[in-house]
């Protein structure tokens, strides 16, 4: 499989007053197309910084980052914005949906910053929301949706531009355990369809759903191991058998 992500000795340092603080001290990682990678580590381990660099939200102090063969470590702000728009879908811990805005409009948002005509925007947003099982909630505002549903809207938004990569930063951090598994099941389904997914998490249970786990500590990769992923779908069925069927978790 082709390499989607290749980082070479990525270094990121910040100035805190007059102190130089290293967030990343040289990280070289390659991720192939179609992988499902979990990045773990304590806070301050550099995993979030690495995530920001992978997401082209920030530029490294030194080192190279090749995304689908293109070196993006030295691009300008506007060029990075275009890359984020076309190549990367983000899923955040706090969902980051626009308040008082319908699910459909939220999903259309990335398309507003590309050159997709209005009719196609609508069609694609509806298709993605259907894919995440929210075809009946197109007009609902975030406040009218449960946490799990909000995160599904966010995933639909991440998918709407047909990105090469989905970056999920603690996607289950604000959800209860059952809903967390549902979200992971959705991500696994997308991964089976060929989507490359990188999840940052500090919960080992969540990392278990990935096929490869990277551990970060002190700005370096501590370990990089393949993992036999747990099947979230099967776990859901198990849960349903154990407990009496309960309604979908409220927000």
């Amino acid at each position: 499989m082709a390499q989607l992500i290749e980082t070479r000795e990525l270094v990121k340092e910040y100035l805190m007053g007059s102190n130089r603080v290293f967030a990343l001290r040289g990280v070289s990682v390659t991720i192939a197309e179609g992988e499902f990678v979990a990045i773990m580590g304590a806070s301050g381990s550099g995993k979030s910084t690495f995530m920001n660099l992978l997401g082209c939200l920030d530029s490294p102090t030194s080192g190279d980052y090749l995304l689908a063969g293109e070196n993006v470590s030295a691009l300008s702000g506007d060029q990075l914005a275009a890359i984020r728009n076309r190549r990367i879908g983000f899923v955040f811990q706090q969902f980051n949906l626009l308040p008082r805005t319908s699910a459909q409009d939220n999903v259309e948002l990335p398309l507003l910053y590309s050159t997709v005509p209005a009719a196609e925007r609508r069609a694609r947003a509806v298709a993605r929301l259907t894919e995440v099982g929210l075809e009946a909630r197109l007009d609902h505002h975030p406040a009218q949706l449960s946490g799990g549903q909000q995160q599904r809207v966010a995933i639909a938004r991440a998918l709407v531009n047909d990105p090469a990569l989905i970056l999920a930063d603690e996607p289950t951090g604000a959800l209860d355990s059952r809903t967390s598994i549902e979200i992971m099941a959705l991500l696994q389904k997308l991964n089976r369809q060929g989507m490359t997914i990188v999840v940052v998490t500090h919960e080992p249970d969540i990392a278990e759903f990935a096929s490869r786990i990277l551990h970060f500590r002190d700005g370096r990769v501590l370990s990089d191991q393949p993992n036999a992923p747990r099947d979230a779908e099967a776990q859901l069925v198990q849960l349903a058998q154990l407990a009496a069927p309960e309604p979908e978790a409220a927000a």
Partner: protein
């Protein structure tokens, strides 16, 4: 990102905080309404002065004899009776800009009608005089050619004279003795009100020029057909300055004035004096508008203030938009459009209120107001400009946020 979508986002953002948006707009609304109303009030004052110019007779000039020197004693203007009816005819015929040139003589005298008497101004005129001064009759008729030629004893009386001599009675056909000569009233002049100097222009009687010459003012003037003044009305659209120059040249020639010698007459452009007054009211209007503009400025600062608050409040939204691909310029446009929308809607409401306010002042305070389309265009342009000017700083601030920091903002 196209402009229509941006505008829709802006309208939505403003609707979410409807009360806040409305209060912010209020500054612009009041400013624009004040500017329009003030300019309308000032314009009304100007219009009223123009009315006065009209009452003088529009485009009018007056030719009076110059001073004369008798044995080294210089007499004042008008002392030298050197204008004639022929001068008037020559001006009317030879200066193309001139519509009418009406000779007139003036004196004062006592009027007697029945048991009452009244001292007033007596004018010897031709019907041209009334035309030159835009002075129509209220009732009756003007002098006929036969009356002008035959020194007929007919008289037109002013409103004040009519009231003083006849009270509520109809003066038409009544007999008046002017300087003890019996006349018949054939018409009443319409009211002209006070002159600029405060004298009552309606306190007057008019008789044919020939009658005045031969029967009332009778002296040597008679043979020479001398007149006191020549009232000139310049054609609509013709240049007053050109007319003035040509009349001056013509009169110098007719009076055989040598080059270098002073004019033996005075030509006064009455319109000029009022134009000066009009100018001062224009300055007043500008002053009022300037004061009103200050409130527009304050309104603009209000917009900037609220946009800054909005940028801070929506930092996470900005971060998200950037994460999904918005460039700095997209964010800049979005907030700028929001500010412009705010100020433009405020401007439109201000126009409605300003027009309504001018109308109300006109209707209830009885002030003349005149809306000027320019002031409306100006107000719209100004309010949009305020949106751009005061919206730019907050918008730029938003566009320079770093996506990761904006996303993490609490």
């Amino acid at each position: 990102m196209n402009l229509l979508a941006t505008l829709r986002i802006a309208l939505k953002a403003l609707r979410v905080n409807l009360l806040r948006s409305t209060l912010t707009m209020l500054g612009i609304i009041i400013g624009v309404a004040a500017v329009i109303t003030m300019i309308a009030v000032g314009g009304g004052a100007q219009a009223r002065i123009q009315e006065q110019i009209k009452s003088l007779g529009s485009n009018s000039m007056i030719l009076i004899p110059g001073s004369t020197t008798a044995s080294g004693v210089r007499l004042g203007a008008g002392a030298n009776q050197n204008l004639t009816e022929d001068d008037a005819a020559a001006i009317a015929n030879e200066v193309p800009e001139v519509q009418v040139a009406a000779p007139s003589s003036r004196s004062s005298g006592q009027l007697i009608a029945g048991g009452s008497n009244w001292a007033t101004q007596i004018y010897g005129v031709t019907p041209d005089y009334l035309e030159a001064r835009d002075w129509p009759l209220a009732t009756g008729r003007v002098f006929e050619p036969a009356e002008l030629a035959g020194s007929a004893k007919v008289v037109l009386i002013g409103q004040t004279v009519a009231t003083q001599l006849f009270g509520d009675m109809d003066p038409m056909g009544q007999s008046i003795r002017v300087r003890n000569v019996p006349f018949t009233v054939i018409g009443v002049l319409s009211s002209k009100g006070q002159s600029m100097m405060g004298t009552d222009q309606d306190d007057v009687v008019m008789v044919p020029l020939s009658t005045a010459r031969n029967r009332l003012f009778g002296n040597t003037q008679g043979k020479l057909r001398r007149v006191g003044t020549i009232q000139v009305k310049v054609r609509e659209g013709a240049s007053m300055d050109d007319a003035e120059e040509k009349i001056r040249a013509l009169m110098r020639q007719r009076q055989r004035t040598q080059p270098g010698q002073a004019d033996a007459f005075t030509l006064r452009n009455l319109t000029e004096m009022l134009a000066a007054q009009e100018e001062s009211s224009r300055v007043m209007t500008l002053l009022l508008a300037a004061v009103a503009s200050v409130s527009l400025l304050v309104g603009g600062i209000g917009i900037m203030n609220i946009m800054l608050v909005s940028v801070t409040e929506r930092t996470r939204e900005i971060g998200l938009r950037m994460a999904v691909g918005a460039r700095g310029s997209d964010i800049l446009t979005q907030f700028l459009v929001e500010a412009i929308t705010l100020s433009s809607i405020g401007g439109l409401i201000g126009i409605v209120l300003g027009v309504g306010g001018s109308w109300t002042i006109g209707a209830f305070a009885g002030w003349a107001t005149r809306l000027s389309p320019q002031s409306i265009v100006l107000a719209v342009g100004f309010s949009a400009a305020i949106g751009i000017f005061f919206g730019f700083y907050p918008a730029r601030k938003a566009s320079r946020l770093l996506p990761i920091e904006a996303l993490r903002y609490e």
